[in-house]
């Protein structure tokens, strides 16, 4: 069995009296895109810093590309911090040179690889322009490419989509998929679930320093109730009696009065609808709404306990 690119076992991190991460364990398989999700302050950045070896865990064990300390394999890791991460006066060419050299790459190779990625992102014309003259989206791409020129096995991206417009987000998603296609493991943190939903093979959800979910995106979605929208003059009490229904809320939609019906996890929307029609409920329109990762995120993080020591 292939060793995971990243393996954390019972990791905790405290800063004085404040516990940022508590008893965290997960694995990121090689060659996959791994989402590290959670609201602000969930402990994502602290965890990534422990993985990189920038801070030591208070307790627990970490394995990064087979090493017990990220610093030992730093040349095999590419890291993009949240926003920026570039010298403003540098040109992309100089940035590829400098950051590539720190990872042991010669100047010519770093520039060649960097330029190829830059051209692929439609930014070939920016190769020799100072970063300060580039837009935020362009600079973010340059920063990411700087972290990739040495072709790392593990790519760690901290909130890579932060502040990007939809076009640049899509372009960045394509770049990330390309990394996984060539065999790199991508770990990225975000609190925007849509990106994780589109990109990730596996996610870990964090809330208040604790892990609240670990598994494939589909499993995260299955962990939250499905939802039915029923439009028409319907008695909510009769809907509550339908099989698998856990909650009913009234709302006014463009089509008129409607009910938002929550079903228990694993309950069948078909069974509930069938029973509704059997009972003769006056339904003019219905919609089965699949839970999104965002829904899962809300539900799973809502009840997470505090981690303050």
């Amino acid at each position: 069995m292939t060793e995971p690119a990243l393996k954390l076992e019972n990791i905790s991190k405290s800063y004085g009296a404040m516990t940022a991460v508590r008893d965290l364990s997960f694995e990121a398989p090689r060659g996959r895109i791994f989402g590290f999700l959670g609201p602000n302050g969930a402990g994502k950045t602290s965890t990534l810093r422990m993985v990189l070896g920038l801070v030591a865990p208070t307790s627990g064990r970490i394995s990064v590309l087979g090493a017990s300390d990220g610093r030992r394999v730093r040349d095999r890791i590419g890291f993009l911090p949240e926003e920026r991460g570039l010298y403003r006066r540098m040109t992309p060419a100089q940035a590829f040179d400098f950051f590539g050299a720190l990872k042991g790459l010669d100047s010519r190779t770093a520039r060649r690889r960097g330029e190829a990625l830059l051209v692929d992102q439609g930014l070939g014309h920016a190769m020799h322009k100072p970063v300060k003259s580039l837009s935020k989206g362009m600079a973010q791409k340059v920063a990411l490419i700087s972290a990739l020129v040495h072709e790392p096995e593990l790519v760690i991206l901290d909130e890579p989509f932060s502040g990007l417009d939809p076009v640049n987000q899509q372009s960045l998603e394509r770049l990330i998929r390309g990394l996984a296609d060539r065999g790199a493991t991508v770990v990225f943190s975000t609190h925007v679930m849509a990106h994780a939903e589109r990109l990730c093979d596996k996610v870990v959800l964090m809330a208040r320093g604790r892990k609240v979910f670990d598994g494939p995106v589909a499993a995260a979605r299955a962990a939250v109730p499905q939802r039915l929208i029923l439009v028409g003059q319907i008695d909510p009490e009769r809907v509550r009696a339908l099989p698998g229904v856990t909650g009913v809320a009234q709302e006014l939609s463009a089509d008129g009065p409607s009910l938002v019906v929550d079903l228990a996890a694993g309950a069948s929307t078909n069974a509930a609808l069938k029973e509704a029609f059997v009972q003769g409920l006056e339904i003019t329109r219905f919609e089965a709404r699949e839970p999104t990762l965002h829904d899962a995120f809300i539900v799973l993080t809502r009840d997470a306990p505090e981690t303050q020591a």
Binding site: L54, T58, R74, P81, G85, Y87, R89, M90, F99, L102
Partner: protein, 449 residues
């Protein structure tokens, strides 16, 4: 080591490419030249002082007033310099030559007593009228008393700058001496020769190469003080550059990328090395300008300065103190920068360091005349002051044991400061909370978890 060199190279080249670096490189010598020439420039633009003399002794044409007027009107060639003249005599003679005697304005020319003259002069000067030729009156000298005891009342609207009393008193001392000699029956011809028999003062020192003290013997201490100022400027400039780059890296999160690519030692080492190379570039540039200026204006001085630099191994000690002093201050500045995202945030923590940097400069001027002063001997043992004050001690011929011990102490302190700064740098670079001096101090001594 490879990564440290890469970081050093970036630090060096990135600043070398900025126009600001080259501007500051040129501005500093200009500021230095202007500072050095400022007193002369001001003196040249200042009109010659005008002095009105009022003789109330009633001694007529043989009185001290006319004697003083004649002495001040005497051509410079008649007031010959002598090798034995010390700085005091030369200065008084220069001032005397610059004074122009003017006719006393009617407002106080008719005064008959010192009190009356004082009152009239006070009223006249308060109104600040101009003389008929358009110049202001710089001073009024009221001479009173008798042959036995002369009194000089010098009135001037600017008492803080007028340094003429001694210059004006010297000819009157001569008059009084001649008057007493005449009263004692000494012929005037004998009195004339007395000036030629004034004591001939000569300075000797066992350190002086030729026994007799010349400028070449004073040069080492002067050069050492100059080097200390240079060291101070370089440390401040180099460490300041380092501070600004770290602040920039902290604010744009590059510091996190660096920390993920290199160790703290490599990052700090590279930055300090890069800053040191910039300082050396600056020093070489300023040194070349200094060499050119001396070569152009006083070529003979090149040998004197060269001998001063090599005497007592001054330049070697300077190099050692520069390296250790720069290392100490640069690492402190880098650690401070790692906690700040803006220069304003840095000011809070820089305050105490700037006080440390100011103290040696306050004492540096005094070291020229008193390089062996007990207070100085104590201060050089404070490691934060050692690099700036010890250079003067080297030039003054301090025992080698003292120099070695001070350097060793400083190296120990520098090692401790670098270690502490490394911890602070790592902690500060990753800190996201608002700057808090208490947390800063706590981070220095906290055990890494």
């Amino acid at each position: 080591m490879r990564r440290a060199l890469i970081i050093a190279q970036r630090e060096y080249l990135s600043f070398l490419r900025t126009p600001g670096f080259w501007i500051s490189l040129l501005v500093m010598p200009l500021v230095g030249m202007v500072t050095g020439l400022a007193p002369q420039m001001i003196a040249r633009t200042e009109p010659p002082p005008t002095v009105a003399i009022l003789d109330l002794t009633g001694l007529g044409a043989d009185g001290p007033g006319p004697w003083l007027v004649r002495a001040l009107a005497r051509p410079a060639s008649a007031d010959a310099e002598r090798p034995s003249d010390g700085p005091g005599r030369r200065s008084a003679r220069d001032v005397r030559r610059s004074i122009t005697v003017v006719t006393a304005p009617p407002a106080f020319a008719a005064a008959r007593t010192p009190a009356e003259a004082g009152q009239a002069i006070r009223a006249y000067m308060a109104a600040r009228p101009l003389l008929p030729d358009g110049r202001p009156l710089s001073g009024a000298l009221v001479i009173h008393g008798d042959r036995d005891q002369l009194h000089l009342d010098l009135w001037t609207p600017r008492p803080q700058v007028a340094g003429w009393s001694d210059a004006l008193a010297a000819p009157l001392d001569d008059w009084a001496r001649r008057a007493r000699l005449a009263a004692a029956g000494v012929p005037p011809g004998v009195a004339d020769t007395l000036d030629r028999h004034l004591a001939d003062v000569r300075n000797f020192s066992p350190q002086a190469a030729a026994g007799r003290v010349s400028f070449a013997d004073k040069a080492p201490v002067l050069v050492a003080v100059g080097l200390s100022f240079l060291l101070w400027a370089l440390v401040l400039t180099g460490a300041g550059i380092l501070l600004n780059t770290v602040i920039e890296e902290k604010s744009n999160r590059v510091i996190e990328v660096l920390l993920s690519s290199a160790s703290v030692t490599e990052i700090l080492g590279g930055k300090i090395l890069g800053g040191a190379l910039l300082s050396l570039t600056t020093m070489s540039f300023w040194g070349a300008i200094g060499f050119w200026l001396i070569h152009r204006s006083a070529p003979d001085m090149l040998g004197v300065v060269g001998a001063a630099l090599t005497g007592h191994g001054l330049v070697l000690w300077f190099g050692a103190f520069f390296i250790v002093g720069y290392l100490m201050y640069a690492s402190i500045f880098a650690a401070i920068g790692s906690y700040c995202e803006t220069p304003r945030e840095a000011q809070t923590l820089l305050g105490p360091v700037m006080v440390l940097l100011t103290v040696p400069i306050v004492f540096l001027g005094a070291t020229i005349s008193a390089p062996d002063a007990p207070l100085l001997k104590i201060l050089v043992w404070v490691p934060f002051f050692t690099p700036f004050l010890m250079t003067t001690r080297v030039a003054a011929g301090a025992p080698v044991l003292e120099l070695v011990a001070a350097l060793a102490e400083m190296m120990l302190m520098a090692a401790f400061v670098v270690w502490l700064s490394g911890r602070a740098f790592r902690s500060g670079a990753l800190a996201t909370e608002k700057l808090d001096p208490r947390r800063f101090l706590a981070a220095l001594f906290r055990r890494e978890s």
